[in-house]
Amino acid sequence: MEERLEQALAFANYRQTLNNQLQKLKIRAEGSLIFAKNGGNFTVNQELICFLDFLNRSNLKEATLLDDNGIPVSIEDVAQFLDEVTTRYFSVTNDYLNEYQSLRKSRNVKSILDIKDEE
């Protein structure tokens, strides 16, 4: 095979594997950001955190929120819920960042997948 074509195919393979792994990281982070509370499921994002912060600053101790399925869920302690979702948000995004940076630095398929020779 011509050398240039061989290099192009190797790069294509690398890009595909990299994109694939980045996509998996993203989906895993999205899954980890789903937070179950009182029978409802909430996707933890900036919008939820800001809204809870607004309720908290407005001195609302309890509130009814619509979850991801549009079902009303009673939150008895808004401040505690805000604390829980904020902790989850940063725990997930920090892990995501670390793994994302590690992947972006990888320069070949073997390092992207962190495959050791004995594997």
Binding site: T17, N20, K24, R28, A36, G40, I115
Partner: protein
């Protein structure tokens, strides 16, 4: 409320579902930390105990329920081991409708033996407002975002019976009895919904049941909820397992669109449905070794 996982295992002449179920039960204990009940038949259980040892088998499951096996049930299925090998073997899946009655739990996660639990994501199910949760969103190790498949090009949404959450409730009981009705009248429903082949699939039966109970509509405002995950990760039977480097860590050869070409995909802390049963059988000893040690 008592909670637990229910797994079915009925071996056929080639696939050792029992061993896969043992490995997965250990994975459930590690990640979900709930008890596991196995539903099996005398022949499969006898083979499993002889092969793996009674003490080990009893350490995997809190309950083992043996049910009668209908040896007259004829349901051949093509099992592939990558695109290069395929074999028609009996697929014994005719008793999933019984799960509602058999489950000893108030809240049950009913999973396929080959849906490997490598994360705690499904713990978000417990205490849900929904009586039943089952999903139609899937993605594979080589794909990007989750998507929905349909029973055929013009058909209804395909729900995957791979993972079903249900709680003891009138609605869940109703759903499972509807599945039984569909199974009992499968030739009629096969023609009505235009299935490509005649093999009985629980995915189809549950999809039709959900469609029926939704008032014959395919709306997003369904009587069942989606699972609290982005979708079900499916490693198709054209793919293979490269290795299992550690706990909750598996590397897959995912076949690309061109037959026989693969991309490697490393799955960490993600639940995955391994549809290549031979591949998972090849690695079930490794899984048992890893999770047995980790659960001690």
């Amino acid at each position: 409320m008592n909670r637990g996982v229910l797994i079915y295992a009925h071996n056929n002449t080639e696939i050792d579902y029992f061993k896969i179920a043992c490995a997965n039960a250990l994975m459930v204990k590690k990640n979900l930390k709930v008890p596991v009940t196995l539903v099996t038949d005398e022949g499969t259980l006898g083979w499993g105990k002889q092969n793996l040892g009674e003490d080990f088998v009893n350490s995997c499951f809190e309950n083992i329920i043996t049910v009668g096996r209908d040896y007259g049930f004829d349901n051949p299925r093509n099992f592939s081991d990558t695109s290069f090998s395929s074999k028609s073997i009996q697929f014994y899946n005719c008793n999933h409708w019984e799960a509602y009655n058999l489950s000893p739990y108030d809240e049950t996660l009913f999973i396929d033996a080959d849906y490997l639990i490598m994360s705690s994501a499904l713990n978000n199910c417990w205490g849900s407002n929904f009586d039943v949760m089952i999903d139609h969103r899937i993605y594979s190790p080589k794909e990007g975002l989750p998507r929905t498949k349909y029973i055929d090009d013009f058909g209804i949404r395909l729900y995957w019976a791979t993972v079903i959450y249900f709680k003891k409730s009138d609605f869940a009981k109703f759903l499972f009895s509807t599945v039984r009705h569909i199974q009992d009248n499968y030739p009629y429903y096969k023609d009505l919904y235009y299935f490509a082949n005649g093999m009985f699939r629980n995915d189809h039966a549950f999809s039709i049941a959900v469609h029926t109970l939704n008032g014959f509509s395919d709306s997003n405002d369904s009587v069942v909820g989606n699972l609290p995950i982005p979708g079900l990760l499916m490693s198709w039977d054209t793919s293979d397992i490269h290795s299992v480097p550690g706990v909750n860590d598996i590397i897959i050869y995912a076949e690309k669109d061109v037959k026989g070409t693969y991309t490697l995909s490393r799955l960490k802390n993600m639940d995955v449905h391994i549809m290549n049963k031979w591949a998972i059988n090849r690695f079930s000893d490794r899984l048992i070794e890893l999770y047995r040690g980790d659960n001690k």
